[in-house]
């Protein structure tokens, strides 16, 4: 547990700050302070200064982190539901059903998904909901493969055979005997999915296709910072730093969970 606790605590701290800070700060993330446009850090109560429109950078950072984390969590849950469901059915059914379902997964792996998501974004407008759905649809494949493998090994274990022999319906076996045994692996891959999803969301936002104003996300802040880095490098460094910290810590937690359960 020791090696998981530190990165997990850092993620929790960032998430907590993102939740609480907007309530404590006197500025909202899109309020304009006309008297202090492009203020330096720590002037007039703007701890991180203001951006080129006079919006408080700290408030924007907190709201952006909040939205990035919310999108990641929602999309990861979608991908977990789809992946666990798909993998369980394929692994339990076996035979031809399994073959077909896994071929579909293989074929989908070969698609340039990122590009299809970009086209989706452009075509159907840039809503947060679509960001969720698009990302969730991309990220379930690995989960499905892993879960299928786990179910296949569990399938012939004595306690499952016993439940089957005693006439328990499949639904009950899956829910009572299989699901608890794959929960750990699913949790590990859920955590490992989070950084991937944050990257996709930020990537879309970076290209101007993700979350739209007045909402903001870490990807948007990094993009704004990159555009403005010759005059205000802090605008790139701070959101970039928060994002990298989140990504690294989530990856470490996910890898260590995976090593434990898989």
């Amino acid at each position: 547990m020791k090696r998981i606790a530190l990165p997990a605590a850092i993620v929790a701290l960032i998430a907590l700050a993102a939740l609480v800070l907007p309530m404590l700060l006197p500025w909202s993330h899109d309020a304009i302070d006309w008297d202090h446009v492009r203020a330096a850090p720590a002037t007039a109560g703007h701890w991180l200064g203001t951006d080129e429109l006079g919006r408080d950078r700290l408030a924007r950072l907190a709201v952006a982190t909040r939205i990035t984390l919310a999108v990641a969590l929602a999309a990861a849950l979608v991908s977990m539901l789809v992946g666990v469901g798909w993998g369980m059915i394929a692994g339990w059914a076996g035979g031809r059903t399994d073959e077909l379902m896994m071929r579909i997964v293989d074929a989908l792996y070969a698609l340039p998904f990122m590009f299809i998501v970009i086209v989706l974004m452009v075509v159907f407008g840039r809503s947060i909901l679509l960001v969720f759905v698009g990302i969730g649809l991309v990220e379930w494949l690995t989960m499905a493969r892993i879960v299928r493998g786990q179910v296949m090994t569990l399938r012939h274990r004595p306690f499952v055979l016993a439940a089957e022999a005693s006439g328990a319906p499949v639904r009950v076996i899956l829910a009572r005997h299989i699901l608890p045994n794959i929960a750990g692996v699913a949790l590990a891959y859920l955590t490992l999915n989070l950084p991937g999803i944050i990257m996709i969301e930020s990537f879309l936002s970076f290209l101007g296709l993700g979350v739209q104003e007045p909402l903001t996300s870490l990807g948007i802040l990094v993009k704004e910072g990159a555009d403005d880095m010759d005059v205000a490098p802090m605008g790139l460094q701070v959101p970039g730093g928060v994002m990298v910290t989140l990504l690294v810590c989530l990856t470490l937690v996910g890898e260590r969970l995976r090593d434990r359960f898989a």
């Binding site: 340039p112 880095m229 990504l247």
Partner: protein, 309 residues
């Protein structure tokens, strides 16, 4: 071997068709079109334009026409870059993207394999722990953060490297490639380091390695002759997904460093609904990913004879 290639090529065809059909349907049935400007066009002008580009035909016919043209390598005219055919645009930009991707994967392989080897020599030692932590951190670094940060430090502050562009020709000025290639290669290098370390550590723990050691072979010779080949198996099977990752990353890197590559055309094309351009780029990307997976599988068979069925 030949059967494998043939089978994979045959399964690639439906995948490519699916990609084409899906993206075609998506774009055509979506609201908004390439001729929607600030001012609405006169109905006659619009009709004439649509007729000129074949957009007034029934959908099925448009798709059939598109397939037929694609097979002959003609992707049609770009709807946004007037006077350019899509084939021309791709011919101009593909070398840039391929150079970027090729250099990045080369760098990633060199860095990743070197780090993996050093780490695997003493599993659990300080070099192993440090290198693997660095590898994890580097894997989690998104290219759209590292790219601008590199440009900030080495381009703006230190003034050592140009922050964007390509110079006169493709490879006339190597300094233009340094930062884009590093930013693109780092996450892949991290992933390769981890895979190489795991593979090599497992290979070094096997009994024939102990025998070789007992016979007095040096570490270098053992790795080169006995351990490297099996250890490369996980690395090679990662190359397929890695290629996909590089293509995606290249879109950002090309945007950040103003490189005239395929990724930039794709984003611009998608934003402007330049149908022929988007379709061509998606098709190309899908074909590249399939090709990379095939190459990875062939290498796999060469590295691990047991997998040849």
């Amino acid at each position: 071997m030949r059967a494998l290639v043939l089978r994979r090529l045959l399964t690639a065809i439906p995948t490519l068709l699916l990609v084409l059909l899906a993206s075609f349907a998506l774009m055509r049935f979506a609201p908004g079109g390439p001729f929607d400007g600030e001012r609405p066009l006169a109905p006659e002008t619009r009709a004439a334009l649509e007729a000129a580009y074949g957009l007034n035909l029934p959908m099925g016919e448009q798709f059939a026409l598109f397939l037929q043209r694609t097979l002959t390598g003609d992707f049609g005219p770009s709807l946004v870059y007037r006077d350019f055919t899509v084939t021309q645009l791709i011919a101009d930009s593909l070398p840039v993207s391929l150079t970027l991707g090729g250099l990045a994967i080369l760098l990633a392989l060199v860095l990743g394999l070197a780090a993996g080897m050093v780490a695997a020599l003493r599993p659990g030692g300080w070099a192993d722990e440090t290198l693997m932590l660095v590898a994890t951190i580097v894997t989690a670094l998104p290219s759209f953060v590292t790219g601008p940060l590199l440009a900030l430090i080495f381009g703006l502050w230190l003034g050592l490297l140009p922050v964007g562009g390509l110079g006169d020709g493709l490879l006339s000025a190597p300094q233009y490639w340094i930062m884009p290639v590093i930013a693109l290669a780092l996450p892949v290098a991290g992933a390769i380091a981890k895979l190489a370390r795991a593979g090599l550590a497992a290979a070094l723990a096997q009994e024939h390695i102990r025998t070789a050691r007992a016979r007095g072979l040096g570490t270098g010779a053992i790795i080169a002759r006995h351990a490297l080949r099996p250890a490369l198996v996980p690395v090679v099977s990662y190359l397929g997904p890695a290629a996909a990752g590089l293509l995606t990353g290249a879109v950002v890197i090309e945007t950040v460093f103003a490189l005239p590559g395929l990724g930039r055309y794709f984003v611009q094309g998608a934003l402007n609904r330049d149908y022929p351009l988007i379709m061509a780029v998606i098709l190309l990307y899908a074909a590249l990913i399939i090709a990379f997976n095939l190459i990875a599988d062939l290498l796999y068979g060469w590295l691990d004879p047991r997998s040849r069925a």
